[in-house]
Each structure stands twice: as structure tokens, then as C-alpha cells.
């Protein structure tokens, strides 16, 4: 239980910690159950080639599918379903099956098969995250796999062309969203006030549809007409993900931002100083530079060094 656990998954964007539904599910579950999991954004390891993300590594054990990862976390006593009754546990399984059958094909289609979305958003985003040779091959491979999956599971007769299959899967997805909305009703999470496995799965599937800005967005528009689902996603993002973004996020990102800000401030102050110096020199060239110390700007000690450097 005290063994450090590391989770490798896809990076995030558009305000989400990850763009991949399964990675999001596992991250959300880890937050809900309080498991101390460090999240590692992977972009060029060999695992992405196998398409096996998310992957949990704990000491020597490597676990790869979301269901198995969740089982492992439960065995380590990080159980978000502790308070559920047996019937609610059964409902969880049923709703997860519903999500996978009805919503996942439309999600895959929006990301990987819809031509405009794929070319303008998904492919550049994924390609920019990989090193050179993988960036050419991997997005195409993922797109082909998604198409294959959709055609094999949904594409039999009497639907003979891709457009008919698309129409059917979007109808199914909208119906699924309506059902989820009815089931959620006005409560905060699906089973009362504490989030559970089902909330993690629903969040994992809904958040990418909700947040990523695509050119072709009819599923997103349908989702936005269901305010309780939007509120559900936003709640989880603010309560469980903003906190960690400020406390122990990918540290490099934040300190880089902070450094950039400080540098900008410094440069601004420097340029203000130089302007004032110029003015002073033009007005009265005999004035000693010491007078510049009277120019009190907002920050603290950084000023002493520029002024001391400027003094002849």
C-alpha cells in the first residue's frame, strides 16, 4: 500500500488532464479513491506504439487495462465504491456496458474518423506529442483501428455505407446521453454525494466530448443541451483536478510559467528605467545617476542590480 505507484497516460489539453477517455477514467478514479498515484505524461515511449496506455507501474507489477487497473487499486484498499450496495454495484457494471456500446463508437468517430476533426485537431495534436518517426505513423494507425472497430461492431447489414453507420452511431450516442442525464437527475454524482467508479467512467467519456474544440461538433452541442451532465463534468474538474494542477502538477510547466512572468516583469522595469534615464539625461546631463534610486518601482531587490550596473 505504501509502494509508489506511477501511472503513464496521454497528455491533456483544453483544460483536461488527458485527452484519452481511458486515461481520464483511471486518473479520475485515482483522485476519487485518494490513491497516491503520480501521473506521468508519456509521449515517446515504446508503449504508445502498442497502444497500451494507460499503464500503472507499481514496484514490479505492470498493469495495462482500465478495468484491471481499477481492480488493482481496489485490492490496495483504494476503493471508491465502498459505500455502494450490491444492487448499485450491479448498476455500475450495466451502465459501463451501455457507455461502451453506445457512446464509445461516436467518441471514436468524432476524434478519429470525422475528416475535418481528424485533420485539423486530432492528428496535429497527437503528432506534435511524438518524436519524429512515430508522429507520422501513430495517428494513422489509431485512426485505422478506430474505423475497424466501428465497422466490425456496428457496420453489418442493413447498414452498408459509412454514412448510414455514422447516422446510427450518433443516434445511439444521443440516446445514451439522454439516458445518462435522466439517470443523473439533480444529484451531484450518480450514487449520491460521493463519486464512484461509474462517475469515473462517465467523466472519462464525457469530458473529451465536452471540452475539446472541434470544427464538427454536433455531439458536443447535444451534450451542452443537457445541463446536468455539463455541471457534472465541471464539478469534477474543479474539485478534483484543479487542486492538483496547483499543488504538484508537472512541475516544469508551472515554474517555467512563473519564470517567464518574472522575466517579463524585469524586462518591463528595465525598459521603464531606461526611458526615465534618457529623459533625465536629456534634461540635465550633470545629474548623478544616484538620483535613479529615488525611482521606486513595485518589486524588491531586483532593482539594485540594474541600477548598480547602469551606474558608470
Amino acid at each position: 500500500m505504501a509502494a509508489p505507484m506511477e501511472l503513464s497516460c496521454w497528455e491533456g489539453g483544453w483544460g483536461l488532464p488527458s485527452l484519452h477517455p481511458e486515461s481520464l477514467t483511471v486518473m479520475a478514479y485515482a483522485k476519487f479513491s485518494g490513491a497516491p498515484v503520480t501521473v506521468n505524461s508519456v509521449n515517446n515511449s515504446w508503449r504508445t506504439l502498442k497502444g497500451d496506455l494507460p499503464v500503472l507501474v507499481s514496484e514490479d507489477i505492470v498493469i495495462s487495462q482500465p478495468a484491471k487497473i481499477l481492480n488493482f487499486l481496489r485490492k490496495q484498499k483504494y476503493n471508491a465504491d465502498y459505500d455502494l450496495s450490491a444492487k448499485q454495484g450491479a448498476d455500475t457494471l450495466a451502465y459501463i456496458a451501455l457507455l461502451e456500446e453506445k457512446l464509445l463508437p461516436a467518441l471514436l468517430h468524432t476524434f478519429w474518423i470525422e475528416a475535418e476533426n481528424y485533420c485539423s485537431v486530432t492528428k496535429p495534436w497527437f503528432a506534435s506529442r511524438f518524436a519524429f518517426p512515430l508522429s507520422l505513423y501513430l495517428p494513422g494507425k489509431m485512426s485505422r483501428e478506430a474505423l475497424n472497430r466501428i465497422l466490425l461492431t456496428k457496420g453489418g447489414p442493413p447498414l452498408y455505407s459509412l454514412t448510414e453507420v455514422e447516422a446510427q452511431i450518433y443516434r445511439d450516442a444521443k440516446e445514451c446521453l439522454n439516458l445518462l442525464s435522466k439517470r443523473l437527475g439533480t444529484s451531484q454524482f450518480f450514487f449520491g454525494n460521493m463519486p464512484t467508479t461509474l462517475d469515473a467512467f462517465v467523466f472519462g467519456f464525457l469530458a473529451p466530448i465536452y471540452k475539446v474544440c472541434f470544427p464538427r461538433v454536433h455531439l458536443q452541442e447535444h451534450l451542452k443541451q443537457l445541463p446536468n451532465l455539463c455541471r457534472f463534468c465541471d464539478d469534477i474538474l474543479t474539485r478534483y483536478f484543479r487542486l492538483t494542477v496547483s499543488s504538484h502538477s508537472p512541475a516544469g510547466q508551472d515554474t517555467a510559467d512563473a519564470n517567464l512572468q518574472k522575466l517579463t516583469q524585469l524586462v518591463n522595469k528595465e525598459s521603464n528605467l531606461i526611458e526615465k534615464m534618457d529623459d533625465n539625461l536629456r534634461k540635465s546631463p550633470q545629474h548623478p545617476p544616484r538620483k535613479l534610486t529615488t525611482l521606486k518601482l513595485a518589486a524588491g531587490g531586483e532593482e539594485s542590480s540594474p541600477t548598480s550596473r547602469l551606474s558608470p
Partner: protein, 326 residues
């Protein structure tokens, strides 16, 4: 990309007959001609028995409701004794149970080429008036358009639950049955290949069953089940039965007083698993662990199938020497 079975068969028939004339002796040629004739006869049956015009039509509201349920409605499935497989039998039984629950009479007709006659390629399908509808989902909607429905009394949340549980059964139980039939080598060799092509002469029987096996294996690979072992699949079946058992509890049906399409679907699958003899008993043992599920199956069988002695007796006979549930 999507190879149509009848087109493939036609191609095979042409190739076989050309090859035969060029290279082989008279006996083999006549055998192959018999094969070709069987294929043609099968295709001819397709032409005769389905109404081509209505294959792709969806039922329209007003004109459909106007027609009452006819007396000669028929349900088509594969041959009970020799040909039908576990998953198809489960689906067929589910539809039969559903129609019984709605009090709609239907005759069960067994045809060797039922799969090819069906508009979606899946059995069972029903032929009502001049409409042909296949699979439980569309059949439920069709029956609803005719004015009969089992789930009208449910509120919105219960309907959502019912749909979710039906997806659970399809996702886990049906996929597990398909896996067991087509991806487990022992079962494939000893049960599936002999049964699936049994109405057809050699080599058509082997060709058809290999083609189907390839198709199912592709699908399993796409959804990620190809890497699973048999133990993992049985584990999933156990989880699914556990969930169903928890949901059913001590109630007579899943939504208390009245049966719905979910009850029909669950009955179809569980009854078939319990009464089909496979290589090992592991699958049926998993279901037998849950006594309320076996009691549920027995109850529905007694209530809806006892009256039709022929049906239940043939179900038992097909299951090769295993008696009905005691």
C-alpha cells in the same frame, strides 16, 4: 471491406465448377456439381421466401398500427437438432420468450439458411404480414409500433436501467458465448465446425464455417477480446451473472411485477447456457452458482413454455441428453 456471404458463395461456386471441369475426374465433378446445386437451391430459397421489397423498410407508424398481428406470423431460425449454435439459440429463445410474454402467437420455422435470409445476417428474424424484422431490439420496436409493449409502465430512470442491463447482457454474455464457440479451439473443432455446416455437403460446410470463424475472430480482435484466455472470459461471465443476480434479488422479474424485454433476453441466454451440453460444464456451473437466476429461468419456462409441449421438449432434445431443469 464487408464481404457479403452470398456473393462469396457465388464466387466460390463459379471457381469450383470451372476448376472441376478442367482438372478432375467425373466423380468429383458430380460431387462438386451437387455442391453447386445445393448452393443454388439455398439461394433460390432466398428468392422465394423473403419479400425483397420490404427488406430495408423500417415500419411506418400509422399503416403498421392499422394491421393487427396476423395468425401466420413466423419466426425463422436454424435447424434445432443439428445446426443451431449456442449464441443463435439464445437469441432465438429470447425473441420467442418476448413474443410469448406479449401474447403474440408465432410459429417457429427451422431453415438451414435462416442466417442468409435474414435482413441483417443475424437470427432469429420474424416474418409478419409483409415485413421482415430481425434481432431482438428492432423486433421490440416493431411490436411496440403495433401497439404491444412490455415496458410502458416503467418510468424514465427504470427504462434507462433496463437498456443498460440489456447492453450488459449483449456485451458480456453474448460475446462470451461467441468467444467460446468460435475462439476456443477445442470447442470449435468438436462442436462448432460439425454443427455449423452440417446441412451442406463438403467442401461447402468447411468453407462456410471457416469464413464465419474468421469474421468472428476479427470482431473479437477489434473489441479487445482476442487476447483474453478462457478463464478470463469465464470470470467475465461470472461477474455478469453476479450483477444480474444482485439486480434480480428476490423479485419475480427484474422490474418487479411484470416481465419486460430484459427478462426475455436474460431468460434466453441463461436457459440456453444451462441446458446446452458443451465440452466442459464450466459455463453452466457459473450460472448455477446463483440460485435466484436458475429459479427465474424455471419460473419463466413454466409460465410461458409449458403450454407448448413441443417447444420445450425439442429444446431439451437438442441439448443432447440433458434433462430439463429440475
Amino acid at each position: 471491406m464487408l464481404i457479403h456471404t452470398d456473393l462469396l458463395r457465388r464466387m466460390l461456386e463459379v471457381c469450383l465448377s470451372n476448376w472441376a471441369f478442367c482438372h478432375l475426374g467425373p466423380q468429383l465433378i458430380s460431387h462438386l456439381c451437387k455442391t453447386g446445386a445445393a448452393v443454388l437451391k439455398a439461394m433460390g430459397r432466398i428468392g422465394n421466401e423473403t419479400v425483397k421489397g420490404s427488406l430495408n423498410e423500417r415500419p411506418e407508424g400509422p399503416e403498421l398500427a392499422a394491421e393487427p398481428w396476423p395468425e401466420n406470423a413466423a419466426l425463422y431460425q436454424q435447424l434445432k437438432e443439428e445446426q443451431i449454435l449456442l449464441s443463435d439459440n439464445a437469441s432465438s429463445l429470447a425473441v420467442q420468450a418476448f413474443l410469448q410474454m406479449c401474447n403474440l402467437p408465432v410459429r417457429v420455422i427451422c431453415r438451414a439458411n435462416a442466417e442468409y435470409m435474414s435482413p441483417s445476417g443475424k437470427v432469429p428474424f420474424i416474418h409478419v404480414g409483409n415485413q421482415v424484422v430481425s434481432e431482438l431490439g428492432p423486433i421490440v420496436q416493431f411490436v411496440k409500433a403495433k401497439g404491444h409493449s412490455l415496458s410502458d409502465g416503467l418510468d424514465e430512470v427504470q427504462k434507462a436501467e433496463m437498456k443498460a442491463y440489456m447492453e450488459l447482457v449483449n456485451n458480456m454474455l453474448l460475446t462470451a458465448e461467441l468467444y467460446l464457440q468460435w475462439c476456443d479451439d477445442v470447442t470449435v473443432e468438436e462442436i462448432t465446425h460439425p454443427r455449423y455446416g452440417s446441412p451442406y455437403p463438403w467442401p461447402l460446410n468447411r468453407i462456410l464455417s471457416y469464413q464465419k470463424q474468421w469474421e468472428i475472430r476479427r470482431k473479437m480482435k477489434a473489441i479487445g477480446w482476442a487476447g483474453k484466455t478462457l478463464e478470463q472470459v469465464l470470470e467475465d461471465v461470472d461477474q455478469c451473472c453476479h450483477a444480474l443476480s444482485q439486480r434480480l434479488g428476490t423479485q419475480p422479474y427484474f422490474f418487479n411485477k411484470h416481465p419486460t424485454e430484459l427478462d426475455a433476453l436474460v431468460f434466453g441466454h441463461l436457459f440456453t447456457i444451462l441446458t446446452t451440453q458443451l465440452i466442459t460444464d464450466e459455463l453452466s456451473e457459473k450460472v448455477k452458482n446463483y440460485s435466484n437466476l436458475t429459479a427465474f429461468c424455471r419460473r419463466i419456462e413454466q409460465q410461458y413454455f409449458e403450454g407448448h409441449e413441443k417447444d420445450s421438449a425439442t429444446i431439451a432434445a437438442r441439448s443432447s441428453k440433458r434433462p430439463l431443469l429440475r
